[in-house]
Symmetry: C2
Subunit: 258 residues, 2 copies
């Protein structure tokens, strides 16, 4: 549970494709003001009214953004994975807290310094804008999923979303006997809250999908998908986009069942 700088910041930042593509000059500047921090599962990265304003990139692991409700429960409003950015450039403190959903590694910048870099390098600025646009699209997809009337459909939409918008995350996908496996990064209570349901209903929905042969429950937090098409059917999703199949994702996972 060490919480301080691990290995050098240089290679960590270069893990993110978009950043690796930046000119050397910008990368060098970023390196000088960034600080690598590790967070163990359950640790808070940012609190709600955090005055210690920072922005950052996720290097590895999974974070979740959440709103704290008056009854003390946490409401998840999004997941952050490797390559995602968080923080509010040019604006006030974030209304959401960020917590590590798994052991994670992030690269944080002091906000003012990062903003100074944005002003100097249009390429970086453009990158940040694109990241927020991506997040916005994700959030809107979440909305479509959440507005599905039945819990079964919402759960299917959630799983489908992991396969599409979060597909580049090695941690989530695996390959068991040629079937695609997905690790579910949050527990039943939080998932239930995210989907607007109760833990019992989520559990029943999982097993209902399993009974219909859509998926297989290997562990509470690990399921195997039989067919993405069936999943999309359940979710009522219009199109799958590109060539997205169980095989594609399983191959990308590279056989590490984890």
């Amino acid at each position: 549970m060490r919480n301080d700088s691990g290995h050098g910041a240089a290679d960590a930042l270069a893990t993110i494709p978009e950043i690796a593509d930046l000119p050397d000059e910008i990368r060098a500047e970023l390196k000088t003001i960034c600080r690598i921090r590790r967070f163990a599962q359950g640790q808070l990265v940012t609190e709600v009214g955090d005055t210690n304003e920072m922005v950052g990139y996720v290097i590895d692991g999974i974070l979740r953004m959440q709103k704290t409700l008056p009854d003390g429960r946490q409401h998840v409003v999004g997941l952050l994975v490797a390559g995602d950015m968080f923080g509010r450039v040019y604006d006030g403190p974030s209304p959401f807290a960020i917590e590590a959903a798994a052991d994670s590694e992030v690269c944080v910048f002091q906000r003012a310094r990062f903003e100074a870099l944005l002003a100097r390098f249009p390429e970086l600025d453009r990158l940040v804008l694109l990241h927020f646009l991506t997040e916005l699209d994700r959030a809107r997809d979440w909305m479509v999923v959440l507005a599905t009337p039945k819990v079964r459909g919402r759960l299917a939409g959630f799983l489908l979303m992991l396969c599409t918008r979060y597909r580049n995350v090695g941690h989530l996908f695996g390959d068991a006997d040629g079937r695609l496996t997905i690790r579910i990064p949050i527990g039943r209570p939080d998932l239930a809250h995210l989907l607007g349901a109760r833990p019992e209903s989520v559990s029943r929905a999982f097993h209902a999908l399993a009974d219909d042969g859509i998926l297989e429950i290997l562990r509470p937090d690990l399921v195997a998908i039989r067919s993405i098409e069936d999943l999309a059917e359940e979710a009522g999703e219009p199109e799958l986009g590109d060539g997205l199949t169980v095989e594609t994702l399983a191959q990308a996972a590279g056989g590490a069942g984890r």
Copy 2:
């Protein structure tokens, strides 16, 4: 239903406070490349795979962003009001369509030209970034609202959201006998779809809230709020933020019952 340039673009853009605050030089440049368009209620502003890529600002009226489902129904994923920006700078075509929810006036820019301006003027760039951050926060608030288990709570959350995130929109608020009135910018079928429910359930939820004295239904699309605190209670919202009361909003509306 005229669909072409109405009055001069100059004063139209200056309607938006953030833009009015920009240096004269930038405003002048914006003016030269912008084009005012009016859309009648129900008209499409942008289609899904629109190749005619544009970005724009809403001058007046209300637009809704929606995803078209395979069954032909439209799924609303957000509302755009005066001062909001739409379009995807630096990125591919939007996965969502935009339609006028009321007679509206927008200011559109050809994307490439607008991007050129972004590159030249950091202030404008910063403004755009802030707009997207606002949209992102809105989308996340939508998520919290949508994840409320009961329709009553989701409807209360929706109304509360109109009072908070969309508060600066003159069209929506009015003052009837000292009570705050809210105009609901979309019809029951769309509202139902947005809230993940059926029109009948939404109607019942409205009247259930009315029976409990939380609000009063003046017209199907016009309700009077008795107490914002009660509304927040119903929605299960943590905090109201700042000094947000029925009186504050009614005063801001300026007594135009409309």
